[in-house]
Amino acid sequence: MSTTTPFALLANAASFPWAEIPAWPAAEFVRATANELNRGARLCAWFGVRDQGQTRLVAVLAFDSDNALAVGRSTPFAGGYPSLTVTHPQAHLFEREVWEQHGLVPGGHPWLKPVRRANENGNAPANGEFFRVAGGEVHEVAVGPVHAGVIEPGHFRFQCAGEEVLHLEIALGYQHRGVEEALIGGPHRATMSQMETVAGDTTIAHATAHAAVMEALAGTEAPLRAQWLRAMALELERLANHTGDMGALAGDVAFLPAMSACGKIRGDFLNLTAMICGNRFGRGLVRPFGCRHDLEPERAAQLMMRLKTALADTRQAVAWFWDAASVRTRFENTGTVFPAQAAEIGLVGPAARACGIVRDVRYDHPAGWHRFGQAPVAVWPGGDIFARAKVRSLEIQRSGEYLLEQMPLAPEGPCSLEPLPPAPDTLAVALVEGWRGEVCHVAVTDSVGRFRRYKIIDPSFHNWMGLSLALRGAAISDFPICNKSFNLSYCGFDL
C-alpha cells in the first residue's frame, strides 16, 4: 500500500529534508491524510509547525504491515480547516492540541476543548464544559485531580445511572510542565534530563527515541554495542512495569499473594537497571550517539544471574494469579474495548494487542538492535481486563526470554561516538515500543540545525480514550481495575 502513497516515505529512526516533504493546501492535505488512513495507515503524529507567521500541519503516518513511515504537510495557513476527526476519530486529541497551540480550528470537530492550557486564574487546567447526560435518575461523579494513592493527578467525570457508567470524560493537563515549548531552539543543557522525565517510568524508551532522533538528524547511528544495551534496558523497563502492573491488578481484586510478590519483584527488576547505570529508572544511561555506561562482561554475568532469579519469582507469582478462579472471573468481560473501536481510536501497545491487533514497533518498524534480534509480539483477543493482563504476562515471559537470549550476544566495540551536529532544515522521526506502547518523537530543525519544533507523543496520548470506552456500560466500582489495566501516564500526556 505504502508504495503508491503521495506522502514522503521513510524508515523508523531516519530523517528527510524538510523542503522535500510533499505539501498540499490544508483541505487537500486533510483529504490526502484521510485517504492514507483509509488504506490502512495509522496516525502516529499530527502537529503544527510555525512558518512565516502562519502554521503548517504535519502528519506522520505508519504503514505497519509495510514496515514504512510516511510524512506529509500542508502549506502554511491560518484560520480553519475541515476536521479529520469527523471521519477518523484517532485524530480527535491531535486536532484539539493543534487548536490549542496554534489556533487552527478544525471545522466540524465534535468535541473541541482545551487539552492542557491553564484557566484564566493560571492555577488549574481550563477543563471546559464536561459532557453531561440529562435525566432525573442520572448523577455525576467527579474524581480527582488528587487521587487516593501515590499516583499522578488527573480528573475523571462520570455520568452514571445508578452503578452503571453511561459516559466517562477524562480531563488532564494538571501535569503540564512545558516540555515541548522549552525544546524550541534546543537541544539545551537540560534537554536530555527532560527527555528522561517526560514519563519517568518510561525513561529508557523516551531517551532512546530522542537519541535516535538526534542520530538521524546527524545522519549516523549509535555504535552497535550501545544499540544492544539500549534494547536490553528497554526490556528491563518493560519487565519492571509489567510486573508492577500485574501486582497492582492483583491488589485491586484483593488477591494479596501475587500483589505482595510482584511489588517486590518489580523492585528487583529496577535494581537490575540500577546495576547498569546507578539509577533504578535508567537515568543517565542513554545519550545521543551512545550510552554513558557500558555493561562489561563481568557485570553482565551478575545481572544475568539476578535476572534469572527475578524471572523465576515472577513466573511463580503470575502462576498464582492465573490459577485463582476468583481473579479470572473478576477480569473476564470487564472493561471491554472492542477491536473495531481500538482500531478506530488508534490504540497502541498492550492495550491494542489485547484487542487482537498485531501492533508493536519492535516488530513493525524495527530500528536499532531490534533489526538483529527480534522479540515476538504478544497478542490476545477479547479487549477486556483479562486480555490486557494476559498480554502483560505473555510479554513478561517473552521479554525475559529475549533478554536471556540476547544478553550474551553483546557486540564488541565502543559504547559511544563523538557527537555530530544535527542537519539544518530536516525532519527526523523515531518510534520506540515502550512498555505502554508506541513512543514517537519528531524533530524539525531550523536553518542552523536547532529545533524549530519537537513533538513528543507518549502512548498514553492515544490510549486514554480507550479507558473512557472501556468504562461505557461498566459499573463505576470497576473503574479502579479498568484504570489499572491500562495504567496510562498523566505526565507523558500533559508534557
Partner: protein, 272 residues
C-alpha cells in the same frame, strides 16, 4: 494449583522484609554514587568547568566567590564529578541526604562540604507523629519516578507500616503532605486546597529535585520551581528520584527513629 499450594509457596518465601534499620542498610548500586561532597577550596582560581555541564544549573560561582553546589537542584548525573579537574566534587556513596532547611543542601564552603543532615522533630510534633505518621501524597508535575520509589516503601521488602507511617486516601486523615514534582501551575489550586484540608499541626515533605527546586524543569513558566514557594516545607529529600533508602532515611530521621544507629552506618559498596 489449589489455594493450599498458594499458601505453601507463600510460607516458603518467608519474611522478605529487610533488617534495616535494626541491621545494616542495603548498599546503594555502585554506580549511584550517593550524596556529593564539595570542597570548594580545591577549585582553581576562577575555574568554572563544572558550571556548563550541569543540566539543572545546580552549580554557581559568582565572581570572586567560592563555587557552590545546590544538592536540592542536583539530579545526580555526576557530569560535574567527571568534569572537575581538581576533584573538588566527589561521590560519597552515602544514601543519607535529607535536610530540614533548604540552605542545608548548599555545599562548598568549609564545614559545609556535605549536607547538614536532618534531626528529629522536636517536642510536641515528635510526640504527635513519632510513632504514627499519616501522609497524603500530592504529585504536582511528578514524572512517576519519585511516586514509584515512594510507593515501593509500602511493599514487603521495605514495609513502611512497621514504623507507623502510612499513605492515606484523604487529606482529612493526614498529618502532612508528601509532595513530588516541580508543582505545575495547573496543580497550584489543587495543592493549596489539599494543604488547607490537612488538620494542623501538619508537616510537608518535598521528595525529589523537582519538588525541592524544579529539577530538570527549573525556570519553565509552567512550573513553580518546587513546593517551597506555595507551602512551608519541613523536610527536603534530594534525588532524581531519591533511592527508596534515601526516602526512608529521611522519614525515620524526621521522626527520631534512627538516632541510635544513625552514625557510622554507611554501607560498604559492592558492585551490584
Amino acid at each position: 494449583m489449589f489455594a493450599i499450594d498458594t499458601l505453601i509457596h507463600r510460607l516458603k518465601r518467608g519474611c522478605q522484609t529487610m533488617d534495616y534499620p535494626a541491621g545494616p542498610a542495603p548498599a546503594l548500586p555502585d554506580r549511584h554514587g550517593g550524596a556529593l561532597r564539595v570542597d570548594a577550596s580545591k577549585c582553581a582560581d576562577e575555574c568554572r568547568a563544572c558550571l556548563p555541564v550541569c543540566p539543572t544549573q545546580a552549580i554557581s560561582r559568582p565572581a570572586g566567590k567560592p563555587m557552590q553546589l545546590d544538592l536540592g537542584r542536583c539530579i545526580f548525573c555526576a557530569a560535574c564529578v567527571e568534569t572537575c579537574p581538581a576533584k573538588a566534587i566527589t561521590q560519597t556513596g552515602d544514601h543519607r541526604m535529607s535536610v530540614l532547611r533548604r540552605e542545608d543542601l548548599l555545599l562548598g564552603e568549609p564545614e559545609h562540604e556535605t549536607v547538614r543532615l536532618a534531626h528529629a522533630l522536636d517536642g510536641k510534633l515528635r510526640k504527635l507523629f513519632g510513632r504514627s505518621l499519616r501522609l497524603r501524597v500530592v504529585s504536582a508535575g511528578g514524572c512517576a519516578a519519585c511516586e514509584a520509589d515512594t510507593n515501593v516503601l509500602g511493599t514487603i521488602g521495605w514495609d513502611l507500616g512497621r514504623f507507623g507511617i502510612q499513605f492515606v486516601a484523604s487529606p482529612r486523615h493526614a498529618d502532612g503532605l508528601l509532595i513530588t514534582g516541580p508543582v505545575t501551575r495547573n496543580m497550584e489550586l489543587a495543592l493549596k486546597k489539599t494543604y488547607d484540608a490537612v488538620p494542623a499541626p501538619k508537616i510537608v515533605i518535598a521528595v525529589g529535585a523537582c519538588a525541592i527546586a524544579g529539577g530538570p524543569f527549573v525556570g519553565h513558566p509552567q512550573v513553580h520551581n518546587g513546593a517551597g514557594s506555595l507551602v512551608p516545607v519541613n523536610l527536603f529529600i534530594p534525588g532524581c528520584p531519591p533511592h527508596p533508602l534515601t526516602i526512608l532515611d529521611g522519614l525515620l530521621r524526621l521522626l527520631g527513629r534512627l538516632e541510635k544507629n544513625s552514625t557510622g552506618n554507611v554501607p560498604v559498596q559492592k558492585p551490584g
